[in-house]
């Protein structure tokens, strides 16, 4: 973009005198052109150039000079056109073989647009003249306020309003709302649950440890609790296969049920008071 902001020296060498640069009265009139295509047409007319065969390099330079002189070199629409012209200028400079197959004149698109715009200008001129003619005729000027009429009966009912509400809603881009909520992991609770499980059973699976419908918080809390218990040497984690469900096995006999452990059963059968 920066190369589009021209200093006068950059173009003065190649640019012949244009009416735009010469006439200061022109410079003041910013609204003289209704757009870059209008300015371009003006330049072509000034130079008496056939639209079908535009000398792109010359016109591009003149265009840049003109928008600079007119103070239009800040306007995005004019800058865009300037960019197009410069690209076109570069394309025209590319070497091409004589009679090359499939070569398309890069100016084609610009010519099409200019012709189309010129047509619109003609139409606009016709409309302008029609409006002028119509403005020569006055409608009745005075319109008395309606005498004590009740407010105009507007066609408005609830169904219509609700339909409109639905339409509005349908058009609203669904907002991407992320609710960020602090969710502390309940490791303590999970520890208590695991200890209770271990007290009841020698062995259980990961899925059983999680219980039904675990949330992500439950999963993380349970995992941390299991790791903590494994670290304390209270259980052993085993996984039969890669990515398989892992099995949690109790490592030490539960303190509250000594008679339940097989080792004790075998070793001390007789001392059992109840025996």
């Amino acid at each position: 973009m920066t190369d589009l902001i021209l200093s006068p020296q950059m173009t003065s060498s190649s640019a012949p005198t244009t009416a735009l640069g010469a006439d200061p009265a022109f410079v003041v009139q910013l609204d003289a052109f209704s757009g870059p295509l209008d300015l371009l047409l003006h330049l072509l007319r000034e130079e008496q150039i056939d639209i079908a065969d535009i000398p792109v390099a010359r016109i591009a330079d003149q265009f840049l000079l003109a928008i600079h002189d007119l103070g239009l070199n800040q306007a995005a629409d004019y800058l865009e056109m300037a960019g197009r012209l410069l690209r076109l200028k570069a394309q025209m400079l590319l070497p091409r073989r004589e009679g090359e197959e499939g070569w398309e004149d890069p100016r084609h698109e610009l010519v099409r647009r200019l012709l189309e715009y010129q047509l619109i200008r003609e139409v606009a001129g016709w409309l302008e003249r029609a409006a002028e003619r119509r403005a020569d005729q006055q409608p009745r000027g005075y319109l008395p306020p309606p005498p004590d009429l009740p407010p105009m009966p507007l066609t408005l009912d609830l169904l219509q309003l609700l339909t409109a509400v639905e339409k509005v809603i349908a058009e609203i881009p669904s907002p991407v709302l992320h609710r960020v909520v602090a969710r502390p992991l309940d490791t303590e609770g999970a520890l208590r649950r695991m200890e209770a499980l271990l007290a009841e059973r020698d062995e259980f699976t990961w899925r059983e440890a999680l219980g039904p419908h675990p949330t992500i918080v439950d999963v993380l809390s349970t995992l941390l609790a299991l790791l903590e218990l494994a670290k304390r040497g209270l259980l052993r984690l085993a996984q039969a296969e890669a990515f398989g469900s892992f099995v949690i096995r109790r490592e030490t006999p539960p303190p509250l049920a000594p008679g339940a452990t097989p080792e004790i059963d075998h070793a001390t059968q007789s001392p059992d008071p109840a025996g």
Binding site: Q138, Y142, P147, P153, L158, Q160, L161, V165, K167, V168
Partner: protein
């Protein structure tokens, strides 16, 4: 009995004017005419309208002259006006009204954001029709005007008050005012991610 040129000029001026026109103003139409000529022209026009039974007449009021339709046609004209205009709200007006009804007080910027189009013209026409009104100014930048619905709006919908506007789940989600999310109060709902 064709009208003479000065009478024509007077007729054109009275027709196009949006107010009663004085004899002096009429004189400025034709500097060479005397005030008496203007009065004669006014008389000729008046007589012509009367004689040919036109539906209009030259009336003297507020120190000037005006062409008005005759009283006997008032009823027909009234009827015609009603027949002529069935003021229906456009889709754009309806949608804007919907946003205002559910979100008031609401500023233009917010309406435009929701509807994705500029709302200036629509707001003005709704205001002119008395369906919405300015209810205050926002505290925000430039203190933009805030709009709300009017009693006429309720009247046309046959509602007693705004609370009678239907509330559906959908509407409340999309059109309720945004509330800043308060993180701590949501802890109870922490295990239910989607705030349904």
């Amino acid at each position: 009995m064709p009208l003479n040129p000065l009478t024509q000029l007077v007729e054109a001026a009275l027709f196009a004017a949006n107010r009663p026109i004085t004899v002096e103003e009429l004189q400025s139409l034709e500097p060479e005419a005397a005030l008496a000529d203007i009065r004669t022209a006014l008389d000729e026009l008046r007589e012509h309208y009367d004689f040919d039974g036109h539906a209009v007449e030259v009336v003297e009021l507020a120190g000037g002259h005006q062409i008005l339709s005759r009283r006997s046609f008032a009823e027909a004209i009234e009827r015609a006006q009603i027949a002529v205009r069935t003021p229906r709200l456009t889709a754009a007006a309806m949608e804007t009204l919907a946003v205002i009804a559910y979100r008031q007080p609401v500023g233009r910027a917010e309406i435009e954001e929701i509807r994705g189009v500029s709302a200036g013209g629509v707001l003005r026409s709704l205001q002119e029709r008395g369906l919405i009104e300015v209810v205050g100014r926002s505290e925000g930048m430039g203190r933009p005007l805030l709009y709300g619905s009017t009693p006429l709006f309720l009247e046309l919908l046959g509602l007693r008050d705004l609370a009678e506007l239907p509330k559906t789940e959908e509407f409340t989600v999309a059109l309720q005012p945004h509330r800043p999310e308060t993180a701590d109060s949501d802890e109870a709902a922490a295990s239910v991610p989607a705030a349904s």
